[in-house]
Subunit: 384 residues, 2 copies
């Protein structure tokens, strides 16, 4: 029935990237008898589990060969990799999702073009290649606009908000990229995301949508499921992400971040071809976590139930850690530390909180936030 099933020593999964997402993939994969080899391209691996190999500029060809010799298949936790590298790997071992999915997802212009082609609404946008074009786009779209580098955007880096077209020159200089995407602001009610998983056989399962609260471009809170989400909205999100998965012949977890507007409609913001911070709630709040489902998908195993067990909130721990003892004294609190040292703006861990009702949940979230030195005030739209 499945390739990986009968081998007692288990499938060895190669992971491109070696941060906390890889760490959590590994924690979900050991029980499936997987072993893990990480390939770090950043010089700063933090997975702290499995075997970490380094890809640097010194002897790349041999480093890559060593990595490939150890693994049965390859996936990634970080999409800002040279497509040529992924293609080179694909020539030797199965890679899920494919280099084509990475190519599209790592480029905002490609991504928008795909959304347009599949009829997935997005904020109005322009592509610009100079400060002058940026200024013209800001005028056309009407400020404020947000300008983002077309590639390598990550957690609010390489972005600027223009309150007036006059700010184009400074914004262009600060972003330091030759090609930007300029987007009109959307009058949204909340930021949401949908995570779905597609198997090697084309089966697709969908997680309940999450509401996400960002501060300064960094995710701080995700709640799922949502108490006030119309079934038709979840269905629309499911349809959008299924279209993306099928179009890309995608295998694994895909995340689509969306804005929900006042009329209940959805507009795509961006997508990530991997397990995602807004899906961490599933570790303790869903029948099957996004990490396990990604591993099931890429190994050709049946996908697990994505249903939520109870209202759950993921609280990110950023910059400085709280006292573990105080956090663990909260009832039904699940701490996930990444074993990293403290640094401003750094994702150090998260806490999943589970409660029988959304009211009880948000009380618990506030109690948890009070224990974290740098947690902003949680504010979810469904509390209004």
């Amino acid at each position: 029935m499945s390739d990986a099933a009968s081998n007692a020593t288990g499938t060895v999964v190669g992971v491109l990237g070696a941060g906390q997402l890889g760490r959590m993939l590994a924690l979900a994969g050991y029980p499936l008898a997987n072993r893990f080899v990480f390939l770090d391209t950043t010089g700063n691996p933090s997975a702290g589990i499995g075997e970490v190999m380094i890809l640097d500029s010194k002897d790349q060809q041999r480093q890559l060969e060593d990595f490939l010799a150890k693994v049965d298949l390859v996936t990634y936790e970080f999409e800002h990799l040279p497509v040529s590298l992924v293609q080179a790997i694909e020539a030797h071992k199965p890679v899920y999702p494919s280099s084509e999915a990475i190519r599209v997802c790592q480029n905002r212009a490609e991504e928008k073009a795909l959304f347009d082609r599949l009829g997935i609404p997005t904020p109005a946008y322009r592509l610009v290649e100079s400060a002058e074009e940026l200024e013209a786009a800001a005028r056309e779209l009407g400020t404020p606009v947000v300008a983002k580098s077309v590639t390598e955007g990550y957690d609010g880096k390489g972005q600027a908000v223009l309150k007036s077209p006059d700010e184009a020159k400074d914004a262009w200089a600060s972003i330091k990229h030759s090609r930007l995407i300029v987007e009109a602001f959307v009058d949204f009610v909340r930021e949401v995301s949908i995570i779905a998983v597609r198997g090697r056989d084309g089966q697709v399962v969908f997680y309940p949508m999450a509401e996400n609260q960002h501060v300064d471009g960094i995710l701080r809170y995700s709640v799922a499921p949502l108490p006030d989400l119309d079934d038709s909205v979840q269905q629309t999100a499911d349809d959008y992400i299924r279209a993306l998965l099928d179009e890309l012949d995608y295998v694994g977890v895909l995340t689509l971040e969306l804005f929900q507007t006042r009329d209940g409609g959805l507009m795509a913001n961006e997508m990530a071809p991997r397990v995602h911070n807004s899906g961490h709630w599933s570790q303790d709040g869903a029948v099957t976590s996004q990490f396990e489902n990604h591993l099931r998908a890429i190994q050709g195993l049946p996908l697990g139930d994505t249903a939520a067990r109870a209202p759950t909130c993921m609280v990110n721990v950023i910059g400085r850690e709280g006292d573990s003892g105080e956090i663990l004294a909260l009832e039904d609190a699940h701490l996930h530390r990444y074993g990293k040292s403290e640094r401003a703006g750094r994702k150090l861990g998260h806490v999943n909180l589970v409660a029988p009702t959304h009211k009880a949940l948000m009380e618990k979230v506030r109690a948890c936030a009070a224990l974290l030195p740098e947690a902003p005030s949680p504010k979810m739209s469904f509390e209004d």
Copy 2:
């Protein structure tokens, strides 16, 4: 509030033993920012995670020093260790539970004496040191009796059942130990176990009792919570294990296996000073798993909620594995493979099945058993 809380790189836990229990401790401990170093004394480590060090006869003193230099505190997943070794470790690093707990738990005579002293009922027993004494004990207690070596009993090894006193000579020869404990048979309705956790501050929490089905001395199924368990029986079990924990000034998870008799009463069978196979259901069926709670306890962190989320059954995978794909196609099935190669009688993994009712659960258990090549027919007393 807690010793381990503020150190971003986390507490390094040394584990005596390097099998699947250590593996599952590590999987529960990485999210607490723990790292793990295993000390293997068997020559056959299977943890497959963390760092494994070997303790053999060659240069024990240096090996032990190397191990101790790497760890902040020590626990174990295997209690059949020389007490002198644990005492030597205790002189340098905190060990939880203490060498005294190991000393008592690894010796059935000590264990029984402790049960007697605390007023915990046990089957009638005798200690014997020769085939002649064994024969006399069998006569006195009335056959059948079970004879067990006083030390190193594990999973039915070093045991014999005597159907008549005449079998004493053969039984004595087969067990090959100088001191045996001989126990009367108990007319029990079912085998149950209670798992409790005691913190460094003396706080105790109790898991719901499990019903356990053994075949040939090997655990095959555990179900918790039980649909037909009187609160007073759980309370009695709680009282028994609390008495043991307090008497031993115990820190960590302790397991007490019991017989439940026709009148609803409980008789202690044996205890294990560690996380236990009959508590594996807690990984997917309880708010906090036995593994996480053991780690919380030994680090001085607050203990987690032990409540069951839903009826859960742990199905052991023994000897030969089933097809992972078929098992994972069962709804709310959680596979835990240990990464070991197949061998008759070997524990290779387990499957935790969760269902909304006990009826639905047992149907799922039968479906799962049908997928495992060597699974016996599941039979729980509450189905009668």
